[in-house]
Subunit: 357 residues, 3 copies
């Protein structure tokens, strides 16, 4: 999409510590170093692309403070501490163009129960349902086709994208983003086995999401059997992730796509779970634990652990085992040779000789 | 959420075999042994929490029949065969408060085709679509934003939560629960490779769900190419599970979250599949097979099998292999030592001595 | 479901190279060789079912050109190059009965922005939202509850099933099918870690789907940070698949269910990814690469590779390692025996004898 920023507007956003060169070009797009043309802004995110930066046609280049190069022609270099972060802040402005915030108010096609409380600065889009006693905070945007259940509480400045479902009694903090298709508060998966049948264990708890949480598209977070399933402040969850009932996730964690967490497990602050990792039930992952992609983890981890593999093992050990595993053909050959050598050795041994004598 | 049960109401639900102590407290909440306060009900679900039960402040404690402790102060112990099950039956009542059944009838914003048959005791919520010739049974609740395709049949006392999609011609039994975002009857994934392109194989079969089936949030069950994809009576499926076209699942199975089952596979009754397990196509899992989490299974299993790992192996063998795998560093060291020892032994062998003599 | 085709209609669709026998039966259903009855059509898809074909009661049998059998009674054999493909073409007609194309036009309950351009031959179903500047091509069918974001472009003859979400600025080619619950253009998962918090990296790119792409139910494709996430012409994606931001997928690929692809990875043409496979970020899979189910892949592959396992290895090596892994118990026993043998050998060695003498 086309954008329009003057060099001064860019400077005001990224607040460079220094600049080199000058441009009068209106910034019309954001592009990679290689694909950028005059009128584009680009950035040097990693030192290994320095050559691309030197050759880039971008009108404005965001570069790290220790960057040594010079601008070419009508180019500006803006020196910043973290070019990727600086770019993010420009893009945050562009994002508002992509998804301009709609006017506040309730769309006439939405159904809002009489006892629901919708802040007057909130927006309820077309074809939404807000059930009895639900509460929607200031500035929150509820896009189309969203269902908010009875008694659910949504904080301020949230964004619930199309097709989101938040079931009864769930609580959502401020500045929470729920991507399309997210389900918050589906039933936990619990049954009692009685006379050959699985009898439903009702799930009467709820889900509580802290401030600044983001949940990815079509992810599902189950309500607790009793009490709450909790996702702590600032935790970010990718697409198609499953969080089971009674799970407690701390603050500022990262859950990559397709992760699954079984019931009643505790994930402490700053844990990072790689894509498709599976975490068993009723365990605790210590603060700052890192879990590799596809890992299968069924035991507690100490704070600061880095584990990998199924079953999960310390990362360095797991990598060593992988290497040795790949040497199994060699090991079997060596075993064959040793057995042959030993046989030869013992057939020519003094004992044998004694017998022969 | 706050609830209100008299001790007599609780007794009537759980039908204890005996009681100890007496309370007049109105039960206002359900809580764990440790967090329960006066006015709460709690339960002893596992013998290892006996000390917590003895110290619990709950006004009513559900305990197993062989529990030896005494009530404290104004506390009642209700002795029951299965405290967890007894709790479930109380929670079933609370669940009705969380999600009170709406009045029957069709919401004015729903679109119900003229040729669709909706039982007069069923409820069609706001913003639903019920296409031509579809049939909705007695007492069934269809929440908001649900799509029911042409000719689909939904049984009695079902509950279709927000955003569920049931496509054309699919059949659903009685007392089935479909959590939010479930898709029943998406196209099976089949193509013919013709002249460098994948030509679509139309999927004109359907999906048939038996009575008392439950499907978790955002799970997907594909329609068969011809015939039916079947999920048997009483089978429970967790969130984000994929069931491919032509799969036949028996009765009373358990499929944990993020399981995937490939096409035309048969899962017999009482099979349990752990989270993220993957099952290949065109195989049969014998009755009562248990499959560990993240297992990758591509061969038949005998009834009563318990398999684990990728590729799947009998559980005990897999665990033994895991242990030996972790001892590979030791094995390589032993091999080094053996080779050195053998070299030394053969260099000092009689043959060598002969040569030296 | 019941269908109705005369033998002549079937012949016109499958265009057999030869026929044997003749039937006047109206074809009422499609069934497997074994379950087919008079009035059904069946097909011999694999040589191993020849005996079933010979015994089949079907009125019309689609068989390969080299099939040697004779028709029984009032049966017709239609000789075709690829019976499975011929069946597909019949089923394509039946599919139109299952899902008859609705009349063109915009349903009165849909919200179409004034600046959106909907082709007059397109159909916008009930309860859809089409935002400003979106464009819907000729003959495209948008079913119920679909959200099409601001400026999104949908090509001609597409089919967007219930509950699909296409976010702002995304572009979709011609003849694309999006199964229910698909999310195109959710935010990519990117954050900068700043002062102990994950600061959102706005995702201002889009998603571009080529012609003839199909995406399975509840799959999610993230928009790029800048530029586009791309799925090439003719590529087919199964259910619950995750495609991260900035991924480039070539033409005519197959992504089976629950596959996950991390950010900025390139998948060249004709790649096949087995179910639940996970592909790391910033790598390239060469043309025609085959990846086994549940594989974990984090390095580039050469064109034509076939890899399996976690970590991924060439298929033949991986299978060999699996076999040797299962022989670890034997290897440990052999090691024990060798060590014992060596000890015995060296204790009876001349050196030892010397010492004893």
């Amino acid at each position: 999409m086309l954008v329009s920023f003057s060099p001064e507007e860019i400077m005001a956003i990224v607040k460079p510590s220094a600049t080199r060169g000058a441009t009068t070009a209106t910034i019309r797009g954001i592009a990679s170093l290689k694909s950028a043309r005059s009128g584009d802004l680009s950035f040097l995110g990693s030192a290994k692309y320095k050559a691309d930066a030197a050759a880039s046609q971008a009108s404005i280049l965001l570069v790290p403070a220790d960057y040594a190069g010079d601008p070419k022609g009508e180019q500006s270099l803006l020196l910043v501490e973290n070019p990727s972060l600086a770019l993010s802040r420009i893009c945050a402005r562009i994002e508002q163009l992509l998804w301009p915030k709609p006017p506040s108010g309730v769309h006439p096609s939405a159904f809002v129960a009489e006892t629901a409380q919708v802040d007057e600065t909130a927006t309820i889009g077309p074809l939404c349902v807000v059930e009895a006693d639900a509460k929607i905070g200031a500035g929150t945007q509820v896009q189309s086709g969203v269902h908010i259940g009875r008694g659910a509480k949504i904080g301020a400045q949230c964004w619930l994208m199309p097709g989101v479902v938040v079931t009864a009694e769930c609580q959502i903090g401020d500045r929470v983003r729920l991507q399309p298709g997210v389900v918050i508060g589906s039933d936990g998966f619990g049954y009692e086995f009685v006379q050959g049948r699985h009898e439903k264990v009702p799930q009467i708890g709820n889900v509580v999401l802290g401030d600044d949480v983001e949940i990815g598209a079509n992810s599902t977070i189950d309500r607790a059997r009793i009490g709450s399933t909790i996702v702590g402040e600032g935790t970010k969850v990718d697409n198609l992730v499953q969080v089971a009932h009674g799970v407690i996730i701390g603050k500022h964690c990262i859950l990559c796509a397709q992760v699954g967490i079984s019931g009643s497990t505790t994930i402490e602050d700053y844990v990072v779970l790689g894509g498709q990792a599976g975490v068993g039930g009723h365990i605790t992952l210590g603060k700052g634990t890192k879990v590799g992609g596809q890992t299968g983890l069924s035991t507690d981890t100490a704070p600061g652990s880095f584990v990998n593999g199924t079953p999960a093992r310390p990362y360095v050990l797991e990598r060593r085992l992988e290497v040795l595993h790949a040497r199994l053909p060699e090991l079997f050959k060596r075993m064959d040779a040793v057995e042959v050598g030993l046989k030869k050795s013992s057939s020519s041994s003094p004992v044998g000789q004694d017998a022969a004598q």
